[in-house]
């Protein structure tokens, strides 16, 4: 509810600064407004101590952002009377400042619903507010584009587009600008560093061992930090009721190569499973891999 009253004009005529990024969170993720104004609040959601606790990430739109919102529907009656008959929720395409390898990790999120908190150039947030007064992102959907590499020029900067369509215009009628105590770059630094993992030698059903290689995104440089079994997490199983990393041989860690034994108790796994590797430093995730399907 928002009652209209004449509220005066400010002495400054400053424009609202540009949207330069978005915090993507799982649907209905909320926090207090006081926390949303601090990097500590966002750190709890973006880089907590466990992968189960990760509820979102930050996408930088330094490479450009194009509003695509439709103008309100204006209708003229047969008497010539014109009025607004419909509002549309905003939508935009943001060109992410990420690598192609980062963009690949988003393919699995295509068409999914998330909440989006928009980040302004100065680090302030454009946010919805719940009926209980908590901070929440605008609900909407995210779309990626499967396309060839752009050849160059301005098109090159549009290599990693995210089409974001908001779903509820009511949330926009009550949006607030939250003055934060962090900068946009500080927020960007909270997101864990992305690492790519790939299967080097397929899962051996006789031994339960799969040889994996970890490299820094897009550069191919070896990542040497996934040396303990606990860092290799089973995300999902296709046919087995349980599965986990039982042991890891990190003798070739300097090359980013790890021989990991994945078992279901004492039994070998019998069907595809998905894994993710993570490094936790103290209380925060610092490195996080893509989710990798290990075929069997």
């Amino acid at each position: 509810m928002r009652t209209f009253k004449f509220a005066g004009n400010g002495a400054s005529k400053l424009f609202l600064t540009d949207v330069k990024g978005v915090i993507v969170t799982k649907k209905n993720t909320t926090q207090t407004i006081a926390l949303a104004k601090t990097s500590a609040g966002w750190s709890t959601l973006l880089n907590p101590a466990t992968t189960a606790g990760v509820l979102g990430t930050y996408i930088d739109f330094e490479r450009g952002m194009e509003p695509k919102s439709a103008a309100p529907e204006m209708t003229t009656s047969n008497t010539g009377f014109e009025e607004k008959t419909k509002d549309f929720a905003p939508k935009f395409v943001g060109h992410a400042y990420i690598s192609w390898a980062d963009y690949l990790t988003w393919f699995a999120a295509d068409t999914q619903e998330f909440d989006f908190t928009l980040v302004l150039n100065n680090g302030d947030l454009m946010s919805a507010i719940t009926s209980a007064g908590a901070q929440k992102g605008f609900c909407g959907r995210l779309f990626v584009t499967y396309d060839l590499p752009k050849p160059g020029g301005a098109e090159k900067q549009k290599a990693c587009p995210f089409d974001i369509m908001f779903d509820d215009v009511e949330e926009w009628k009550n949006y607030q600008i939250l003055k934060t105590d962090f900068t946009r770059k500080e927020l960007s630094a909270l997101a864990p560093v992305g690492v790519n993992i790939e299967v080097l030698t397929a899962y051996a059903t006789g031994t339960g061992v799969v040889v994996l290689k970890a490299t820094k995104r897009a550069t191919g440089e070896a990542y040497t930090g996934f040396t303990t079994y606990a860092q290799w997490e089973v995300v999902s199983l296709k046919g087995d009721v349980a599965g986990a990393a039982t042991a890891i041989d990190a003798a070739q860690a300097a090359l980013g190569i790890y021989s990991v034994t994945f078992l279901n108790g004492a039994a070998k796994l019998t069907d595809d499973f998905e894994i993710q590797a993570v490094t936790v430093a103290s209380t925060h995730i610092t490195y996080l891999s893509n989710v990798l399907n290990v075929p069997i």
Binding site: G206, T207, G208, V209, T227, T228, Y229, A230, A244, A245, T246, A247, I248, D249, A250, A251, S259, T261, L263, G265, A266
Partner: protein, 58 residues
């Protein structure tokens, strides 16, 4: 739990049979650790079968 270059999840080994553990040792640990199967089994809590001594004294 570290043995040589191998890190092993220390949980759940009390449910393993000795035969399964020997398979695991051969497949994931052999040549990478200096400890015997019995030594590692003892540390992890795998039940090791008792070896009966044969009395050869006459």
């Amino acid at each position: 739990m570290k043995f040589g270059s191998v890190d092993i999840n220390p949980d759940g080994w009390d449910k393993w049979s000795w035969k399964d553990f020997l398979d695991f040792y051969d497949q994931s640990l052999k040549g990478k650790v200096t400890e015997t199967p019995e030594e590692i089994a003892h540390v992890l809590g795998v039940k090791v079968p008792v070896k009966h001594k044969v009395n050869t004294a006459k």
